[in-house]
Symmetry: none
Subunit: 185 residues, 4 copies
């Protein structure tokens, strides 16, 4: 029998979400235990297992309920301004203490070293090629080569990581074409 949501104790539900949030802040994702959440929330373990199958969904709900919410950005009329405001809101959310402390560790439990190890060689090659292009005049000299490399790799890596859409050759070509249009003299 599935549990009867009507009879659910809201007091317990909130205590659990708050406890989970606090503990994941303090300990990180991997050291967070259901047992500790139950103890801190003053709740039986079963009450957690009754409503959530595991840590992941529990924290998902905790973030939905207690996570950072950036303000809506009202259009100013100027495209550049709007996009900059939009991204700055995103940056602000990412930087919010509760988020930064918790979420990077949560999202990125394993050593960043590993990703660095995997990404850096590509990045270095890209930067070298862009510098050469700058010297030959194909790329404007006022472009920050490092940021440009990130402009190329960022979307690829993000799409791979988050599976927002399939990672195809066409996507790669589109990214390069767009970025190059920005970089050309």
């Amino acid at each position: 029998m599935p549990p009867d949501a009507a009879r659910r104790s809201d007091r317990s539900r909130r205590a659990i979400l708050v406890a989970a949030m606090e503990l994941v802040e303090a300990l990180g994702y991997s050291k967070l235990t259901i047992e500790a959440v139950a103890a801190r929330a003053g709740v039986g373990k079963q009450t957690i297992y009754r409503w959530w199958p595991s840590k992941g969904p529990l924290l998902f709900d905790a973030f939905v309920e207690l996570g950072p919410v950036g303000p809506d950005v009202l259009p100013s009329g100027d495209l550049a301004t709007d996009l900059k405001r939009e991204l700055r809101v995103a940056v602000a959310e990412l930087a919010e203490r509760r988020f930064d402390q918790v979420c990077r560790v949560l999202v990125h439990e394993a050593r960043t070293d590993l990703v660095t190890l995997l990404l850096m060689p590509r990045r270095v090659e890209l930067e070298e090629r862009l510098l050469a292009a700058q010297r030959s005049g194909e790329v404007r000299v006022d472009v920050d080569v490092s940021a440009a490399a990130e402009l190329l790799l960022g979307p690829v890596y993000q799409r791979w990581l988050l599976r927002t859409a399939p990672l195809t050759g066409d996507f790669v070509d589109a990214v390069v074409d767009l970025v190059l249009r920005a970089l050309r003299g």
Copy 2:
């Protein structure tokens, strides 16, 4: 006393790295146990703990030694071609079975849902603004708005996640300016 690296058994070291690689492929990061690695490598657990403090560094070494290595990209003379080839090598590495199966889970243990949850609102707002700009003629109509949104968010998210450099307002502005140059008619 620190262990004496000179006396280290290379046979055991390699067996451990291979076993770790195979098991993380088969089970994913979180279900990988040191005990299983030791058993499969035919090695005492202590021999693992003697040389690595935990799962993370062990897998790091396994990837360094056994991970994917993309080919060097030889310059063709054409910038767009070179950058596309470069990114395709990156994509190929990311797609390599050993890597894809293992590394996403490894890098991204926690539910992708969470990140999606955090990123999607920004993304939706960005796409709406870009569509509006397209209608008003500020952005060319042949631009894929979805890819363009990724071009904006990808670098920001990647820089936050990997801490490749500080995530400043200036960086955001530079990204927007560069991307807009590409998108404008």
Copy 3:
């Protein structure tokens, strides 16, 4: 928090005691592992550690519950007969398979050699002195000198080993006086 005895599973408790008893019979005290007891009892290790601090107390309880129980000896009226029956019950208990196999090793884990080493010199000296006394007529010739030596050393050694009471010079004197009364012609 101490465990809650009211909730204790009697099924598990008994299974553990039986398993402990069987294994100590088969393997002896030192080769008995908590892990093996848990496995044989079909019980988690924690369930043993929750209720017993270590092997010793666990086996103590196992013996209390499952150990040998000699019959009560009903008085026959004749003192010698009664004492002999009493001691024979003790001997029977000591000889019971479950007991003899297990308990000597359990009580006397260390090499008997050691005790022999320590006791034999005294014993030899005692026997020599008693033989001399027999030759000089101080001790009856029908006395088994070896048994007599044991009569002297047994109580001393037992009192030392079991700490049944302080091991004083007075005790020694009392023992010698009593035994001599028996040995004299």
Copy 4:
């Protein structure tokens, strides 16, 4: 190949025995580890394993070499005096610090409780019977009933424990007959 005793390092041998003795005094038998002996003796573990199969024999040798040695007892001419002196030497040896601290734990690793548990019922019954006999005049009133019970049980228990000789009914009878001779009025 058996080790070549001629080449044996006496310095190492003695250092090992001394270290073993010191450690068993400090820690007791069960907490004594070969590793600790080797470390304290400044000796490789292999040097211990080369010459002794295990803890037991090692400690046996340590006691042979470093254990207590009571003085020889010179006959005084009086039997009672001689036997008392003899037993007092035994008691002195048993009481020697090195011995008492170490050896009881060593000989009697397991909980004394257990033996008490097994022996006490017999002992109580014996004492009761002896008291009754005292009341009925079969046993002299100046006899310490507790010591008398020990006189009966001590030899039996010791013979069982040390297997100095088979534990037969005849032996029991002989003990009872001897002791009764001492106890009768």
